[in-house]
């Protein structure tokens, strides 16, 4: 039986929710002070996801890097691999805010988009 404590981030209280499970079969959830805690802990235990904000190299831009993010959360365990993939890319200026830098990264169905517009170096 696995026991893990998950801090619920739904509100500033940060309740420490204890999840008891056999693999993916959740047996018990305790320590929450509201129903959001249950939902949060369940999702975080079974399928933790994160938004990944980072940078990507820019060619010929006014600055050397463009800040990017995954347009929505991706599985937490893919973060390392996603960072490796993104470190190999160089995008050509100009870049528009919202522009898709990588389509469907690591088959997650999520795009990586630019969060700033970068002009060409003049």
């Amino acid at each position: 039986m696995n026991e893990r404590t998950i801090i619920c981030l739904s509100c500033p209280k940060g309740c420490r929710v204890k999840v008891k499970a056999n693999g993916d079969d959740i047996k018990d959830i305790s320590g929450h002070e509201c129903p959001q805690g249950i939902e949060y802990a369940k999702n975080e235990y079974l399928n933790p996801t994160r938004i990944l904000p980072t940078t990507v190299r820019v060619k010929n831009g006014q600055i050397a890097l463009v800040p990017v993010k995954t347009a929505s959360p991706i599985p937490k365990e893919k973060i390392g691999e996603a960072m490796q993939k993104l470190s190999e890319i160089e995008v050509e200026a100009p870049v528009e805010l919202g522009q898709v830098i990588v389509n469907n990264i690591l088959d997650t169905g999520v795009d990586v988009v630019a969060t700033r517009s970068i002009k060409e170096k003049n």
Binding site: I7, P53, T55, Q62, A64, L65, K69, K76, T115
Partner: protein, 423 residues
């Protein structure tokens, strides 16, 4: 070259941007926004992480995206922007001297000024960490700039002192970019950063957080080679037997922010020793008529959303200052003082006139964390209002809205207090 302007805003970060837009919206036609960097957006441009705009836009944005919303809105308005321009002098007559590589020295006579210069980071020297002075000691914000804007890592083996949000965010940033973050050390018994950041910046990456510990010495001749760490007791005294040495090549410091008020001091504006920023009334006006302050230069904020709202108060007030022919007579003037368990309150004074809005929002920080407590507003005779709070923390600015009509006409001071469970 000498010019006259109606409104000059010093700083093109989130405070300056919001103030400019609000002043424009309220009818000011001549606005000059001065920014020292080559782009608008201030510190937001290097804050590439999420978490901005939850209040203001009801969306979760990264720093650059939040800035872009305002920059876009500004772009088609008649608001003059001067980039790569530094205000080097200001006096109490609202005369500014500015310098830029585009125009050289310019003298500007402003009818109204909004100060939005932001803040800087406390340094290793200011907190007096003994040891050698090698390369590799840096503030977290400087490291953030190097990594996110210039594109360089300051080191490979990192120790971070300070668990405020900047320290936590940088722990994650460095880990993502391949550095080995040995740990985050915090002298207090709790982290002042958001719980979310503790989870997503430290726990996610297995980076340990050590509470009640601090860096007691830096080793290394040319480059950092190691730091000594010791535990501290509740009075921040080091416990010598707990000393340990951690090998690393970089020490990042996230040990506090200081509002950048050198210009304010030059103009002889009165400052609050506790906030480090100007003393203001509810319209964010300083003790020089027509000079307003907002954003981190006034008080160090936790959420940029609050900065934008505060800046809008200042922008609107600047517009009123410029456009109202007659100044309303002040009917009552009060000091607003921090009482028990409260570190500071902004605004510091309340100037009530016929046009003052019926509800005044007071912003403050508590001294220690507390749960199930009460915020009490009193004057020297009685309690005027009270507000319950399930949880309050020094790391998050709190606010309450006080109806003006509850204030006694004869009062000259009101006090904000935190009453904890036991009392």
């Amino acid at each position: 070259m000498k010019t006259k302007r109606e409104l000059v805003i010093v700083g093109g970060g989130p405070a300056g941007l919001a103030a400019a837009l609000e002043a424009h919206k309220n009818g000011v036609e001549d606005i000059l926004l001065i920014e020292r960097d080559e782009y608008l957006g201030g510190i937001l441009q290097q804050c590439i992480h999420n978490g901005f705009g939850l209040d203001y836009f009801n969306e979760e944005l990264t720093g650059p995206e939040y800035a872009e919303r305002f920059i876009d809105e500004l772009s088609d308005k008649k608001i003059d922007v001067q980039l790569k321009t530094m205000v080097i002098d200001i006096n109490d007559q609202k005369m500014l001297t500015v310098l830029s590589s585009k125009k050289g020295i310019e003298f500007i006579e402003a009818k109204s000024v909004i100060l939005a210069m932001g803040c800087r980071e406390r340094t290793r020297e200011a907190i007096r960490i003994p040891g050698t002075r090698p390369a590799g000691v840096m503030t977290a914000g400087a490291a953030q700039r190097y990594i996110n804007i210039e594109g360089y890592l300051p080191g490979r083996e990192i120790v971070i002192l300070g668990s405020g949000d900047i320290g936590l965010i940088m722990a994650r940033r460095l880990a993502l970019e391949g550095a080995d973050v040995k740990g985050v050390f915090e002298i207090m018994s709790y982290s002042s950063g958001l719980v979310r950041n503790k989870v997503q910046c430290l726990d996610d990456f297995g980076i340990p957080l050590y509470l009640q510990q601090t860096v007691t010495k830096i080793h290394g001749q040319k480059r950092v080679e190691a730091v000594d760490i010791a535990e501290v007791d509740d009075n921040f005294n080091q416990i010598p037997e707990t000393k340990k040495t951690i090998e690393c090549d970089t020490l990042l410091l996230s040990v506090g922010l200081i509002p950048e008020n050198e210009l304010s001091q030059q103009a002889n504006i009165s400052l609050d020793d506790i906030t480090g920023g100007p003393i203001v009334d509810q319209s964010r006006e300083t003790d020089i008529p027509g000079v307003f302050a907002c954003g981190n230069v006034l008080q160090v904020h936790d959420l940029v959303d609050n900065v934008s709202e505060e800046a809008e108060i200042a922008g609107k007030a600047a517009a009123e200052f410029l456009l109202n022919e007659t100044k309303d007579e002040i009917k009552q003037s009060l000091e607003i003082a921090p009482g028990k368990n409260i570190t500071y309150v902004v605004p510091h004074t309340l100037n009530i006139n016929a046009n003052t809005s019926p509800l005044i929002e007071l912003f403050f920080r508590v001294k220690d964390p507390a749960e199930d407590c009460k915020i009490s507003i009193k004057d020297n005779q009685e309690e005027l209002a009270s507000y319950t709070r399930p949880i309050v923390e020094p790391g998050e600015i709190e606010s309450v809205k006080l109806p003006i009509k509850l204030i006694n006409k004869s009062s000259d001071e009101i006090i904000v207090e935190l009453i904890t469970g036991g009392e």
